[in-house]
């Protein structure tokens, strides 16, 4: 469903913590319907970048355009209502409540009345959450908590989905299902995924953006990025060998 117009764009985006620039002048553009992967070594600024896109952090400089309109300085809830859904690196869920209550709160954010129940039923069936529905989220394994968080994002029917390391703590089988889910999500939404798992990226990605030291190093197709000697040097080299 790519139609060429950028749904999300950043211009000279920068975030400093004290003297350190975690994100240092990023010009990023995302077309509607894209499925993009962000990779880069730890500390490259990927999570900081995501937090600025979702309003959790304010940029020190630069602009973020959502559908051509600046969202810098907007509250996170306003950005959420405009269709940006994010799964953070560390699961941001209601640990003290049941999976069902977590899903209810997510569904209630966009719906009223009986639509809430049917939205919960459909996401439970889709992600196979039935067996853990009455469990407390805090008691679940890390991978399952990730699923709950992804379910909460998906239930809001976002137009842009930001997934920060969605497969961390998941088994190979779960990772495979996540890849399927991400591809399915991409049918109705623009998706950006931060990942380290090359196997996973190979399964889903069409284009890859490489972050390094707060900047975009390379942006290309998966094959070209993997073959790129600079990328191998800063990131893949060390990882691909292990």
């Amino acid at each position: 469903m790519s139609d060429g117009a950028p749904i999300l764009e950043t211009r000279g985006l920068e975030r400093r913590f004290g003297g350190v620039a975690a994100v240092d002048g990023v010009n990023f553009s995302l077309r509607r319907g894209e499925l993009r992967c962000l990779i880069g070594p730890n500390g490259a600024g990927k999570s900081t970048f995501f937090k600025m896109l979702s309003g959790q952090l304010r940029p020190t400089a630069g602009d973020i355009l959502l559908d051509g309109q600046s969202i810098v300085g907007a509250q996170p809830h306003a950005i959420g209502r405009r269709g940006v859904g994010i799964k953070n690196q560390v699961p941001v869920v209601m640990n003290g409540l049941t999976v069902r209550e977590n899903l209810w709160l997510a569904a209630r954010a966009r719906r009223r009345g009986t639509a809430i129940g049917s939205a919960i039923d459909s996401i439970v069936a889709r992600l196979d959450l039935g067996p853990i529905l009455e469990r407390f989220v805090g008691e679940l394994a890390h991978g399952q908590r990730q699923w709950v968080e992804i379910a909460m994002v998906v239930i809001c029917e976002p137009t842009i989905v930001l997934l920060d390391e969605p497969t961390a703590g998941m088994s190979d089988e779960e990772t495979g299902r996540t890849a399927e889910l991400v591809r399915a999500l991409n049918n109705s939404a623009t998706v950006v995924v931060v990942e380290h798992d090359m196997q996973f990226i190979r399964q889903i990605a069409r284009s890859v953006t490489v972050f390094h030291q707060g900047r975009i190093l390379v942006e290309d197709s998966f094959e070209n990025v993997v073959a790129n000697p600079i990328v191998r040097d800063v990131y893949l080299g060390r990882r691909a060998l292990t």
């Binding site: 959420g80 409540l97 709160l105 407390f136």
Partner: protein, 343 residues
């Protein structure tokens, strides 16, 4: 039941036995004045009044996750508003209503700045404590005859005596009797308890609990957490103000002690002792702590505060989740063991 500090099942509708419990409380409340003498009614009335303050804190801390160390701001403002208005106008019912509205308006201003300013939780606790102490110190320094509102002298640390009791709505020449005050305070406490419990079942209540659990996630989902927190804060302020106004009606007296550190800390202590995961726990704890400190006073051990402090310290160490939740867990596990043996 698991070892949780906060309630995780607030959205689950109460079971039949809860309604039975509420009905039993209501019946007990109605018939008690027929058996109890005036002094017991007065003692229980003040417990009901303080229970409202405990409920206000219990809801705000246990379910919204805001630890306002200064719920006494609204308690004191409620009391003083009633005293000053009732003495000036003689219209006690209107004064009573205004004594709830005025503190809530103050809460709106205060809450707007701390909540919309995104002051972090710990600072909110500190700021609210400081504000209640500012009220205390300011009122203490109004002893001079120049501090008059209408015809009422503020009297500094001596407080305002002779506050009229409530008039009966149908006969403004008659004042509320002792059992009238008992019914009013007990009825208010029971209604607020039931009201708050049922509020937690509504979308508003569930969203507020979600914000307690994870404010960031709720915002990312699209909820403006600030407006929900402010509404909950105002509700708690209103309940604390109701408690303060009833305190003035009960004792015919208000004093700056309503705002002081002792009183502010006591509210926190009730909730710590009673536990944050139920609404009723802090109410029970209010009774126990009040009874215990009164008893310490009568056996003249001296150092009441010191002994009370040691007991509370022991409580926090032995029952970190509070008395009632710990007892409930112990009972449930004892029953299930019993059930296994007999089957």
């Amino acid at each position: 039941m698991t070892g949780r500090e906060f309630a995780s099942d607030a959205a689950t509708p109460p079971r039949w036995w809860w309604w039975l419990f509420v009905a039993a409380l209501a019946v007990g409340l109605i018939i008690l004045p027929f058996f109890a003498d005036a002094s017991l009614q007065l003692d229980l009335s003040i417990l009901f009044v303080l229970s409202l303050l405990a409920l206000s804190m219990s809801f705000l801390w246990g379910y919204v996750g805001i630890l306002s160390f200064g719920q006494t701001i609204f308690f004191g403002l409620g009391g003083y508003s009633y005293a000053i208005l009732a003495l000036n106008t003689g219209m006690t019912l209107w004064s009573f209503a205004a004594a709830i509205v005025l503190p809530v308006i103050f809460g709106l201003v205060f809450g707007y700045f701390v909540i919309y300013g995104r002051i972090s939780d710990i600072y909110l606790s500190v700021i609210s404590l400081v504000v209640t102490l500012i009220f205390e110190k300011s009122i203490r320094s109004t002893s001079g005859p120049e501090y008059v509102i209408g015809s009422v002298r503020l009297n500094g640390q001596n407080g305002i005596p002779g506050v009229p009791s409530l008039q009966l709505p149908w006969d403004s020449s008659a004042q509320l009797s002792i059992d009238g005050v008992f019914y009013l305070a007990g009825g208010a406490a029971l209604l607020v308890y039931v009201g708050l419990r049922l509020l937690l079942l509504t979308p508003f209540g569930r969203i507020v609990v979600g914000i307690r659990e994870n404010e960031t996630r709720m915002e990312l989902l699209g909820y403006d957490s600030r407006i929900y927190k402010l509404m909950a804060f105002l509700l708690a302020a209103g309940v604390a103000a109701l408690s303060g106004a009833l305190y003035a009606v009960w004792g015919n007296f208000v004093a700056p002690e309503m705002f002081n550190l002792n009183q502010a800390a006591q509210v926190v202590i009730w909730v710590i002792v009673g536990g944050r995961s139920t609404l009723i726990g802090p109410v029970v704890a209010t009774g126990l702590v009040q009874y215990f400190s009164n008893w310490l006073g009568t056996v003249s051990v001296g150092q009441v505060t010191l002994i009370l402090g040691l007991v509370l310290l022991a409580f926090v160490l032995i029952f970190p989740r509070g008395l009632l939740p710990t007892l409930a867990t112990a009972l449930v596990s004892a029953f299930s063991r019993f059930g296994r043996k007999s089957s």
